[in-house]
Amino acid sequence: MNASKVTCPLCGHRFHSEARSVCGACPLAKGCEFICCPACGYQIPDTERSLIGRWLAAGFRRRATPDAAMPQTLADVPAGWSARIADTGGASAPRHQQLRAYGLEALTWVRVIQHRPVTVVAVAGTELALEAELARRVVVDSLRP
């Protein structure tokens, strides 16, 4: 899991995903694709380890309606939505300059066309393909359908 902290969906206990305090006593720990809540033992799929879990989770994430008030990156913007760029400074210097040259700079609205196999966005008369790693470096601050 990307987040270092996990919230148990059953009991609400928050714990570090890497702690795995209950795994030591479990005979199935080797190769296990779940994280067990140390408070209640509830099994949460570990999407870092489970390929199928990661695919399904990504699919559900795409269908979710984003919270328009929550700042996020271009990679989080659902396909078909438009987002306002806040910052591209997280990308490497050449990529930052190239993104700006293509028109992806602060206050510009871009429309996300798709995320698979790579993110494709439209900005004015330009259509750009950029991989998720780069899309995650482009911060957006506002969304609209």
């Binding site: 400074g89 300059q97 700006r100 293509y102 798709q114 004015a124 330009t126 393909a129 950029l130």
Partner: protein, 655 residues
């Protein structure tokens, strides 16, 4: 605009007229219009990776330069640096900034930057037809007034606006720099003007390039200043960054962006509207994660039907079998035998390994029909804009090979000609990526002539045989790429590529491009095929061919399980692998190869290094040491894979 005489309007400066601008905006089409000289034109960024030079009759013999696309200054990839060097190292009398009218903002950002360099300049707003189709309405006169330079709307593909552009080039003058930067930056620029060496661009333009960290400018300055002077410049740049509390490049870009936004508001009556309709839907579907694949399969299936079946079987059957086999060759053989009294000369011309019966028949009757169909289909695909869209679909595969989806462009161009595709690897950003791409191109990407012969031979065996060959090539590509990516140090660059819109190919451009490639093929390949024929003839005469066949027998007949006659084809394959493949084609035509032998032979010869020209190109791009290392790896690897495949297929019941 009435220009009484382009020559009388010409500027008094010395030097060439340089066409500069973003990738895929129509510079090469304008170059053709201005010079009448053909330059390869396609619908994807990166078609031009070297400078093309032509002479314009409208300017009394002035040289016109067609340059690779330049997205940003500071320049990044190799092809951008080539374009950037023009500004510093080439005497330029005028710059024609070619811009995409429907991408006005991006165009103007570069116009402003070029204007600051103080060179006489014209802005050609190209693709006006596409801009209008997308609802963009522009006021070129307002732009011209605010920028202080001629702004000419053009449609290069139809020639609209070219005459006005020629007049404007003749009258081009230096534009005033319209921008004022923050005080800290202006102060540093003033100091730089005092110490920078004289250049063809203005000291202010040179200073801005330096402050923004342009690597080409840095190299240029290092060649002209001593170490203490360079240290002084570096310290000044650091001081400016500290005073600005940010990178000078960001501050400069911010000021330019704000100016361009104001300019856009004044000069652009209406903005870009996304197109709807069938083309727009198809454009989306070509990169769709699900529907993109059936479309790709349909495109490849169409290519196979046109090149592999129509070109390699129907056309070749008619030309080689009937025209050459039954008419021309017997007639020529009887005439030469009657006219030439010396036996060995007759043999040299129309014998088993004769110049005509082998060299010209291979080149004209076997390869020419195949590559004609391939080049035609390939030109259509190039001009449609479909190829760069494959970068989206193929990205994950290339990622596994330490590259990104952009590498699909040189790989696909390699299907046309590996030698030219080796040059196109310049569009990749890092040295490591270029090296990996060159290795994969040399190893597992068949060129058009090779591909045609392969399709023809395997198509005659079964569709399954073609699938096995494709499967082995893809497996080799991915496995070697994956392993090489693990072994070669360095990081992969992230994918960022512009996807041009799908366009209906212009028939004239497709025909001209196909004809130009065929002309190049005939000039390149026919002499080598003739040379190969002479070589084989001489080796046969002096008995070396028999010795070589016996020497190679353990490998060719023992390990690969091929008939002894195939040895000659592999020897020819060292010169050009399609020459060798054509030799195998001839063996198959004489029923000397079983289906198993055909597949094994095709896999082995496809993994050979393409040709002598490709070796020279690899050496030019990557150096001799790497070229020799690649050669030492590729030939034994080709035989190892071929023999391994034979064992596998034999175990599976193939004969």
């Amino acid at each position: 605009m009435n220009c009484h005489s382009a020559t009388s309007c010409a500027a008094t400066r010395e030097g060439a007229v340089a066409l500069l601008g973003n990738p895929n905006v129509g510079k090469s089409v304008l170059f053709q219009r201005l010079t009448g000289r053909y330059a390869t034109v396609s619908n994807y960024p990166g078609t031009t990776v070297e400078i093309a030079r032509g002479v314009s009759s409208a300017f009394d013999g002035v040289t016109v330069l067609d340059t690779p696309g330049l997205l940003t200054l500071p320049a990044h990839g190799d092809e951008e640096k080539i374009a950037a060097r023009i500004l510093l190292e080439e005497p330029v009398r005028a710059v024609v900034h070619v811009g995409d009218a429907k991408n006005l903002r991006r165009t103007l950002l570069m116009t402003v930057q070029l204007a600051e360099m103080g060179l006489p300049m014209v802005l050609a707003l190209n693709m006006m037809d596409e801009a209008e189709a997308h609802g963009v309405r522009l006021e070129p006169d307002v732009l011209a007034e605010r920028l202080g330079l001629p702004v000419i709307p053009t449609i290069a593909t139809t020639g609209q606006g070219i005459e006005r552009l020629q007049c404007a080039i003749g009258e081009a003058r230096s534009a005033k720099s319209p921008l004022t930067y923050p005080a800290a930056l202006e102060s540093e620029l003033d100091s730089l003007v005092e110490v920078l060496p004289p250049a063809s661009i203005s000291p202010r333009g040179l200073g801005l390039l330096w402050l923004c960290g342009d690597p080409v400018t840095e190299d240029w300055l290092r060649a002209r200043l001593d170490e203490p002077q360079m240290l002084g410049l570096v310290a000044g740049r650091r001081g400016a960054a500290a005073a600005l509390r940010g990178l000078p490049a960001d501050v400069v870009q911010g000021v330019r962006s704000a100016f361009v936004d104001r300019l856009m508001a004044q000069a652009s009556a209406e903005g870009y509207v996304s197109s709807q309709g069938v083309t727009a839907s198809l454009t989306r579907l070509t990169i769709h994660p699900l529907w993109g694949w059936p479309i790709l399969a349909a495109v490849l299936g169409g290519l196979y039907a046109f090149v592999g079946i129509f070109g390699a079987q129907t056309l070749v059957g008619w030309i080689e079998g009937r025209l050459f086999g039954e008419t021309i060759n017997p007639w020529l053989a009887s005439w030469v035998a009657r006219l030439v009294p010396i036996d060995w000369v007759v043999d040299l011309i129309v014998g088993k390994y004769g110049l005509w019966t082998m060299g010209m028949t291979y080149a004209l009757a076997l390869i020419l029909p195949i590559i004609s169909t391939f080049f035609l289909a390939f030109s259509l695909l190039e001009d449609s804009g479909y190829l760069p869209r494959l970068a989206v679909l193929s990205h994950r595969v290339f990622r596994a090979m330490g590259l990104n989806g952009k590498a699909v462009l040189p790989m696909i161009l390699g299907l046309g000609c590996v030698t030219m595709a080796t040059l196109t690897t310049r569009i990749l950003e890092t040295r490591r990526e270029r090296m990996l791409a060159v290795l994969l191109l040399a190893l597992a990407v068949p060129c058009s002539a090779q591909l045609g012969v392969v399709m023809g031979m395997l198509g005659a065996v079964s569709f399954g045989a073609t699938l096995i060959w494709v499967g082995v090539m893809l497996a080799v590509l991915v496995c070697v790429g994956w392993l090489a990516a693990k072994l070669v140090p360095g990081e992969r660059s992230t994918l960022l590529i512009e996807l041009p819109p799908l366009r209906r190919p212009v028939a004239s451009n497709v025909v001209v491009k196909t004809a130009a490639r065929l002309e190049w093929y005939l000039k390149e390949v026919v002499p080598l095929f003739l040379l190969g024929s002479i070589l084989v003839f001489v080796l046969d005469r002096v008995g070396v061919l028999d010795v070589a066949s016996r020497w190679a027998e353990p490998v060719v007949t023992g390990w690969l399980g091929l008939p002894p006659e195939a040895t000659l084809a592999f020897l020819m394959g060292f010169l050009r692998r399609d020459f060798g493949a054509t030799g195998l084609f001839a063996l198959q035509s004489q029923d000397l190869l079983t289906p198993l032998q055909t597949v094994v032979a095709m896999v082995t010869i496809t993994l050979f290094i393409p040709c002598v020209a490709a070796v020279l190109m690899i050496a030019r791009e990557r150096g001799w040491r790497m070229t020799l290392a690649m050669t030492a790896f590729i030939f034994p690897f080709a035989f190892a894979v071929g023999g391994g495949l034979r064992l596998l297929l034999h175990a599976a019941g193939w004969t």
